[in-house]
């Protein structure tokens, strides 16, 4: 015993500087995030779009609802007939395309964020309950997931929006109530793995309440995969809203939604292809950025690359 304490004493000073110089887990994570090209690209683009949406009233050169029938379908500035007055041109009612695009970003981001929040709350509680309690609860949740997956999302969403009328609130609610399946599936399997961990058993042994175990032991450990699913479902909701609006059963005119802009531009497909190109590219870039961010977060937070 005396021998061990002696060695410990002699070794301790040597170890200490090494420990201090090695980076903390937080620093390692930060380096990895900064070094991940896809993640950084996604985060920067998403942040830019978010800021543009937030400051749309300051950035937009015109009122997105203001019609000017004398100046209809002016092409964007890079076209020979374009001008700096309307950088991205005007639509079939003479509304400034850039202003509509900026306000449209608000719609897309709001729908993505709120729908993912609603479906996240539903799916996560179902998945965690199924994974933690098992047995009948699990059988029940698995059954509900199966039923949900069997329903054709686009068709059901279209039908419900048609019945309740297409407003932003209805679209968000419908998407939120439909897109919880992936949350439930992933959270269920993540919780299933955690349930038999020693620290969960230990928490049970010292008599923690179920609520405490779920919120302080399980939740922090599934947060990583939760964030990844949130990004994926945000992208999914944004694409679905655009598709619904494109089909005429989503957000209704004159609201500036990107899907609606593509749909309105469809009539001018032959002569004014830029009218679908601009909102389509915007949609593509936004979804790409969110997906790259999600993929990057998954890479960075995956336990196998933690060291």
């Amino acid at each position: 015993m005396a021998n061990t304490t002696e060695t410990m004493n002699t070794v301790a000073p040597k170890v200490e500087p090494e420990v201090l110089s090695s980076p903390t887990p937080r620093q390692i994570l930060l380096t990895k995030i900064l070094g991940h090209k896809g993640l950084m690209f996604g985060a920067i683009v998403l942040l830019t779009i978010f800021l543009m949406a937030l400051f749309a009233p300051l950035l937009a050169p015109y009122d997105p609802y203001h019609q000017d029938l004398m100046h209809r379908m002016i092409p964007p500035v890079w076209d020979a007939k374009g001008s700096w007055e309307n950088i991205l041109g005007t639509d079939h009612l003479g509304r400034d395309y850039l202003s509509r695009l900026l306000y449209g970003a608000r719609i897309s981001l709001a729908i993505g964020a709120i729908a993912a929040l609603i479906s996240g709350i539903i799916g996560t509680s179902m998945g965690v309950a199924a994974g933690y309690f098992g047995g009948r609860v699990d059988a029940c949740v698995t059954f509900l997931i199966n039923v949900r997956l069997a329903m054709p999302v686009v068709l059901v969403a279209l039908a419900v929006v048609a019945l309740f009328g297409g407003s932003l609130q209805v679209v968000i609610t419908v998407l939120g109530l439909l897109l919880w399946d992936r949350f439930a599936v992933v959270m269920r399997s993540a919780t299933l793995q955690l349930r038999s961990m020693e620290y969960v058993t230990a928490a049970k042994a010292i008599g923690c309440s179920t609520k405490r175990i779920l919120f302080s032991e399980i939740m922090p450990n599934i947060a990583n995969s939760l964030i990844v699913i949130v990004t994926l479902e945000m992208a999914h909701a944004i694409l679905l809203e655009a598709a619904l609006s494109f089909l005429g059963l989503g957000v209704q005119p004159p609201t500036p939604s990107w899907g609606l802009m593509v749909s309105e531009g469809k009539q001018m497909l032959l002569f004014q292809p830029w009218m679908i190109a601009i909102p389509g590219v915007a949609l593509f870039i936004l979804v790409l950025a969110i997906n790259l961010l999600g993929d990057g977060l998954r890479d960075v937070s995956a336990p196998e690359n933690r060291n």
Binding site: V147, A150, V156, A243, L247, V287, D295
Partner: protein
């Protein structure tokens, strides 16, 4: 295997039952269906007449029972709009959608599997990068927009393909690409991951060690095992695709079941919408059931679950 099959069948039937209840409930989500059918100009007497004509005055359980009883025999009632049996309408349109689905999944498999294999054989090579690039693009591209871009390119600029209709095989080219491109990324990623896994396995090393040619190792030993999960994913994707064909069909005005669904929603033709929701769900349920069975047959470990 028999027990497993019966269990899965029981689950599939339960899911079908739940979906049928939900699609039936859709009729009542809007409030009074009789008022919806009669239209905005109808007075109270008209609404009452409609209610009696369609039997909407009876208890819900009776109505559901009758609807389901008839649906099992292939009778989905009468379309409010066409005044024709819904089953006839759906059957006419379904062949187009099924053809489109088969073309789409074939296109996805024929492009995604070779790409996935090529990417796995040389990880981080140019081919791998291109494959990854295509799958990232595919996930971010809105399918309705991709369809319009193809129309601009092939119908307006090059004038080689018709932009809409469903009369000849040329009408199916662009819808197939759009629908197939949607399923491609997932299939490609799974093929790549499966091949990477299998190529590191002992039996592949044994095959190489005993002097089997590279071609033989790839296709006879590796791909045969890596393809199993891909086949079941393809079955599930097929179910999703049939449900997702509604967007593609409406862009290209392809007169399939998805287009019928879109039109029927616009016309408030609820019996047709209900029938289509049930039919599309049934496709998904049947395809996942088959893929579960296929998995269990190929991999005995799955039968326990």
């Amino acid at each position: 295997m028999l027990v497993y099959t019966l269990k899965r069948l029981g689950l599939a039937l339960l899911v079908t039952f739940a979906v049928s209840v939900l699609s039936f409930a859709l009729l009542y989500l809007s409030g009074d269906p009789a008022a919806a059918i009669a239209g905005e100009t109808a007075n109270a007497d008209d609404i009452e007449a409609v209610r009696l004509h369609y039997g909407l005055d009876r208890p819900l359980v009776v109505q559901y029972g009758e609807w389901m009883f008839n649906a099992v025999r292939g009778d989905f009632g009468e379309s409010y709009y066409f005044k024709l049996p819904v089953s006839q309408l759906v059957a006419e349109r379904l062949s187009v959608t099924m053809l489109l689905g088969i073309c789409g999944i074939s296109f996805a498999l024929l492009t995604a599997v070779p790409l996935g294999v090529a990417a796995a054989v040389r990880p981080n090579s140019l081919v791998d990068r291109i494959a990854l690039f295509l799958s990232v693009m595919g996930q971010a591209m809105p399918s309705f927009w991709f369809g319009l871009v193809l129309i601009v390119l092939f119908s307006i600029k090059l004038r080689v393909l018709p932009p809409s209709g469903s009369d000849s095989w040329q009408n199916f080219v662009m819808p197939t690409i759009v629908l197939g491109y949607y399923a491609m990324p997932a299939i490609m990623r799974l093929t790549r991951a499966g091949m990477l896994d299998v190529l590191g396995a002992d039996y592949v090393r044994t095959a190489r060690a005993k002097g089997a040619g590279e071609f033989r190792v790839m296709f006879k030993h590796a791909l045969r095992n890596a393809i199993i999960p891909v086949v079941s994913l393809a079955a599930v994707q097929m179910g999703f695709m049939l449900g997702g064909s509604i967007v593609v069909e409406s862009i290209f005005a392809l007169h399939g079941a998805g287009y019928l669904a879109w039109e029927s929603i616009g016309r408030n033709d609820l019996p047709t919408v209900q029938a289509l929701i049930l039919v599309f769900s049934m496709f998904y349920i049947v395809f996942t059931f088959l893929s579960d069975l296929l998995n269990a047959w190929l991999d005995p470990r799955m039968r326990v679950g």
